[in-house]
């Protein structure tokens, strides 16, 4: 599928299509190749994918499909090191959009989009089952008097493991006396999955509909479970009402702590390390908030991995990779789990459904002694429980 640059005749029409799809994102690239050299895929695949070539393709309007087009997890590592600040993700997602036009997409992705279209979620489950994640806790429908809208997202709504994160978050919000609600079965898919597999045109339609839905519902502060939903709302959605204020839950928990509404009084003797999700740290500079939440818990010890904050290593789940098969041994999380174990931490804490799933999958395969993966919300929930329960749970006895 890859084409040698030397043998291709550039055609105006193709160039225009590529330029339009990528929004000219590749124009500033001067082909230094830093992106290719540092792409973390090299760590797991033995060879890097040629980001540089893809950007070149976008720049020159070359037809054909680059190797590695669907491998990119949009982790932004290359962008963070690019000397010319090229919007590399935009170039890659633009090329993916063209691949949709040419119907050159990996198996399973069209089904993903149909699931979103017919069912309103990436899981292909009925919307009527969306509110079932709450199980034994009651979460009311959002009304515009509420302080916040809790945007649950597809994973916390349908994935059994992530549902626990949602329930933990609810109990923390309740402990802080926050008035909140969800959109129940009318909650839409945020569009991150659609955008990240490159279908920008469909994502635009979703964004448009959802932004209007939020405005009509009177949503101001929207707190998300997933950094990906947060990134969509904060950076891709129009602020129709002018006071739409999306927050990732780690930011909101810190606000509650700073406002002295959320207090951790019990000791939680737990040694943890924190794995930064790309979409919080590199993409949105949110590195301190989750750490400050952790550090406000008495008795909890936070140790750092070498790659942390804006230099975090991707879990491998972004860029639509959650819906594509990643061969065993080619998963970033397989590298990340040993890194976390080396710190001597009992728990690796993260706050992204994709990170949680990938890290737990790797942990199940590799097995690293007593190391466990928890979401920030789960740690906070644990810290709020009585001392005995918390210490039992912390030592893994419950």
């Amino acid at each position: 599928m890859s084409q040698s640059v030397d043998t291709i005749l550039l055609q105006d029409e193709t160039w225009e299509r590529v330029d339009k799809a990528t929004g000219g994102a590749a124009a500033p690239c001067f082909q230094c190749g830093v992106c290719t050299a540092i792409c973390p895929l090299g760590l797991v695949k033995g060879e890097t994918i040629s980001i540089r070539k893809m950007v070149r393709q976008a720049q020159l309007g070359l037809p054909g499909w680059a190797d590695g087009l669907w491998e990119c997890t949009t982790c932004l590592w290359c962008e963070s090191r690019c000397p010319h600040e090229v919007d590399i993700t935009r170039a890659i997602l633009g090329l993916r959009q063209l691949a949709w036009k040419e119907r050159e997409v990996p198996e399973g992705l069209p089904t993903l989009l149909w699931d979103v279209y017919f069912d309103g979620n990436t899981w292909g489950r009925p919307p009527s089952e969306r509110p079932l994640w709450t199980k034994d806790v009651t979460v009311k429908e959002f009304s515009s008097d509420d302080e916040i809208l809790l945007y649950v997202g597809d994973d916390a709504a349908y994935d059994r493991r992530i549902q626990k994160v949602g329930r933990a978050l609810v109990s923390v919000l309740e402990a802080a006396g926050v008035t909140f609600g969800t959109l129940g079965e009318h909650e839409p898919s945020c569009g991150d999955a659609v955008r990240s597999v490159g279908h920008g045109e469909y994502a635009a339609e979703i964004i448009d509909a959802n932004a209007r839905l939020f405005q009509e519902a009177g949503v101001k502060t929207a707190v998300t479970v997933s950094p990906h939903s947060y990134d969509m709302f904060a950076n891709r959605y129009p602020n129709l009402s002018g006071d739409f204020r999306p927050l990732h839950y780690s930011q909101y928990l810190l606000e509650l702590i700073e406002g002295e509404r959320l207090k951790f009084e019990n000791e939680l003797p737990l040694k943890v390390t924190y794995h930064d999700p790309c979409y919080l740290s590199r993409r949105n500079g949110i590195c301190d908030e989750p750490r400050q939440v952790l550090q406000s818990i008495p008795g909890l010890e936070l140790v750092e991995m070498e790659r942390s904050r804006e230099d975090t290593l991707c879990c491998g789940g972004g860029g639509g990779r959650m819906w594509m098969e990643t061969a065993a041994g080619e998963r970033f999380s397989d590298l990340r789990v040993p890194e976390a174990a080396e710190t001597g931490a009992e728990v690796v804490v993260t706050c992204c459904p994709y990170c949680l799933s990938c890290l737990e999958d790797s942990l199940n395969v590799i097995g690293k002694g007593k190391l466990r993966v928890m979401e920030l919300a789960e740690v906070a929930h644990l810290a709020l429980q009585s001392g005995a329960v918390a210490s039992d749970a912390a030592s893994g006895r419950s």
Partner: protein, 340 residues
Amino acid sequence: MTKSLYGAKEASGIWIYLEQSQGQLEGVSLELVGKARELADGRGIPIVGVLLGDQVGDLAQEAIAAGADEVRVADDPLLRQYTTDGYARVVTEIILEGKPDILLLGATPDGRDLAGRIAVRLRTGLTADCTDLKLEEKSGLLIGEVWGFGGGVIAYIKCPDNRPQMATVRAGVFAVPKPDAARKGKVVNVPVKLSEKDIKVQVLEHVVGGGVDITRAEVLVAAGRGCQGDFTLVNELASLLDGEVGWSRVPVDEGWVSRDGMIGQTGYTTRPKLAIVCGISGAFQFTVGVEKAETIVAINIDAEAPIFEAADYCIVDDMFNVLPPLIEAVKKARGGNGGR
């Protein structure tokens, strides 16, 4: 009303299309003969089998042993393999000659292929994919039970005026009757008026018998979404119990497995003695396919999964936590029995 080619007054008997493949009768055909016998008894209704093939006459006795009074055999080299055009033509001729009141076929791919075609040719009604059959007390009309809408609705369908009253019936819903080798019946050879040019279908390749028939399995281990595509433990447990492996719709939709072992409304109806159902939530569309099991064990991580309402023994846990110790315990128990 669309008029059928003959009417109720001229019609008599329950006829069964005896489907054979490579010289073997499909189990569902014998199940139908057995059921027809049961329906006919006390009413004096003749049971007639219709058998097409090439040198398949021997199979007629099997149908008679299962309860048929008569078998009409169309034996011809051109009927060696099923072709829609060849078979539809010959079966229609036999039907118009014998004018049965009821015509039953197995709801197999070939049975449905043929039934849909000849129902229109005969301009009659067809109740598809029945899960039970009965005769209306007074009128003697055939009532077909069908599952509808995936929502636990049963519809009873009948065909009052047109003849034959046609129905296709799923494999496994009736038991195969015990053969009675002493039973006597009539075998009538039907002349076949077929020439090569009548058959436009060319069969280029024909592969059967590779798969397992889960409708006959005595022990069935089934897995669904919860197995995440990994059937290793499920296979191990099944082979330990001399059983077969089946699955719900999700593994098929996910592309983990083919439809060969799919249980449920759009898959197979099974009637095992023991069914161990792992990681299947138990939507109605699935449970209809196992509910005839003598004993059902359900293993599911979700305590509220509907499968637990349809199970005898329930374990709330991830199947991957339960199966390894269960496999060990079965091994030990079998060892205690001296093994098999």
